[in-house]
Symmetry: C2
Subunit: 302 residues, 2 copies
């Protein structure tokens, strides 16, 4: 899938119902999730990461993964993705007719241990099995490389390590990788440099950037990523995804702020900003507190 | 004052006690303002905008301008600036031994009318008088051009208008101008383009960028400004400066987040980040609520 890399077309993937919701303390009813996804399905997204087929005990919020997939009305223009931790989750996801798999592994050994309770080699082995399953079922696979720009446990992450693991997954035939700034430690210079190296090393791979706004640098990092030719971004409606117990703390970059900025910069996101703001306002009612989105309060530039 | 424009040295001006405090609902005691400025005086700032010599009736919060200037302990490495609305304010400021004057005018006629209750030509006339006073007293002058990137009343602002007014002030011999995104409408592409034009048009002028983070684009705009060779930024400790009645709404870009990002990017701010975070934590007690700074909660990158 070779793409024209310097087009102005931006592909936005929504992650709020997965990355955003999974840290929420109160269960969000299945029908509310479905209604939100159905609304977003008409907003111009390239993809929606609907849920995760993980253990219901590990993340009770996403225990209804199958029901959510069964309940949504699919727009053929949107890819409905799920996070797949292992072969068991992959089987459930295949039954749910997930359009594409997103797998996850940390570049930081310490973070992988803390998050997935196994070493990277063991993760790689499990994911290899999932990739084989996906291939057999003609389901495209993306691999999210967590802590690509730094780790709160291990500190700095060498770009060479990121490229090493990206190469190992590329060699398994995955369609794309995501460079994930899981802990909000990326800065615009580091982002520009790694994006350039990744695009050069993997010219045919879909490369997505996944930023968190933990330290206020989220959209600043988007700027150097687009300058380096990146055209795919994850974002979370309302900026949800941070720890709900830290007032004002933000998680993922905010979808409506990402779209608003890129549109103003002359990029073509193809997104309906008004609909995003509508969804974001609903979200605030859904989680019962003020969400990080500043655009929701200030309104878009005239 | 011709500078080497492409050095990595960044000059940060603190505006929290002026731009930040002026929208606070509760008066902050003079001694608390002095203590905060004294703390900041050791943090590496190029300048601190201490207060405004405006009408005490117009902005009661800054009615103690003279007392604050009399009470602070000056660090010779820091320039202590005040906002000067008119000749009357200039006289008070000269008595207070202000190091430099910051004047303000809006590029948007409607905004100038709303904010200063006069047209731009009348403002220009008044400021011309202030500039003559400053010159006679050997006090350097900066002119802040509000709404340089858009106006909530007038909409889009033509870059030609910004350069036109900058030229008129440059011809009066001012030392510098600030391009102010008063309403948080600037985007990284517009910023890069205007900074490049301004630097080319005014190679010997100090050009400062003054961003608000109203729509989340504050630090993203800093990225393209530094790329365009800008080395002077205003910022507000804790990100104070937004309307305190809009929960979570941010005002000026946050000093500690600006410094943190630029340091990570390899620029030399010369700032003591630890001290900034200390000041920001004090500030939260001072205003009695959670302030926008995300870095204060997340902590700096290891």
């Amino acid at each position: 899938m070779n793409r024209l890399p310097q087009t102005n077309r931006i592909h936005v993937a929504e992650v709020v119902t997965r990355d955003g919701f999974q840290s929420e303390p109160q269960f969000i009813p299945t029908e509310d999730k479905i209604a939100l996804i159905d609304l977003m399905s008409t907003a111009g997204y390239a993809a929606i990461e609907v849920t995760s087929f993980t253990s219901p005990r590990a993340i009770p919020m996403l225990a209804d993964a199958g029901a959510v997939f069964a309940g949504i009305t699919r727009n053929p223009a949107v890819e409905y993705i799920a996070l797949i931790p292992n072969a068991r989750g992959a089987e459930r996801a295949l039954q749910a007719r997930v359009d594409a798999f997103n797998l996850v592994m940390s570049i930081s050994e310490a973070h992988n241990q803390a998050n997935l309770r196994m070493g990277r080699e063991q993760s790689f082995g499990q994911l290899q099995e999932v990739i084989r399953l996906a291939e057999a079922n003609k389901v495209p696979v993306n691999v999210s490389l967590s802590t690509s720009f730094g780790c709160s446990l291990a500190g700095a992450i060498a770009p060479d390590d990121v490229l090493h693991w990206a190469r190992r997954f590329a060699d398994l035939g995955v369609r794309g990788i995501s460079l994930c700034d899981t802990t909000g430690m990326a800065n615009p210079v580091a982002v520009g440099a790694l994006c350039q190296r990744a695009r050069k090393a993997f010219p045919t791979l879909q490369i997505t950037l996944h930023f968190h706004n933990t330290r206020g640098m989220g959209l600043a990092n988007v700027v150097t990523a687009v300058q380096a030719g990146i055209r795919r971004f994850d974002a979370s409606l309302g900026g949800l995804g941070g720890c709900p117990y830290a007032p004002g703390a933000t998680g993922n970059i905010c979808t409506e702020e990402l779209v608003h900025m890129l549109d103003l910069m002359g990029y073509d996101t193809g997104m309906n900003l008004e609909l995003l703001l509508q969804g974001s306002a609903q979200l605030e009612h859904l989680v019962g507190r003020t969400i990080p989105s500043q655009l929701l309060r200030a309104g878009p530039v005239l």
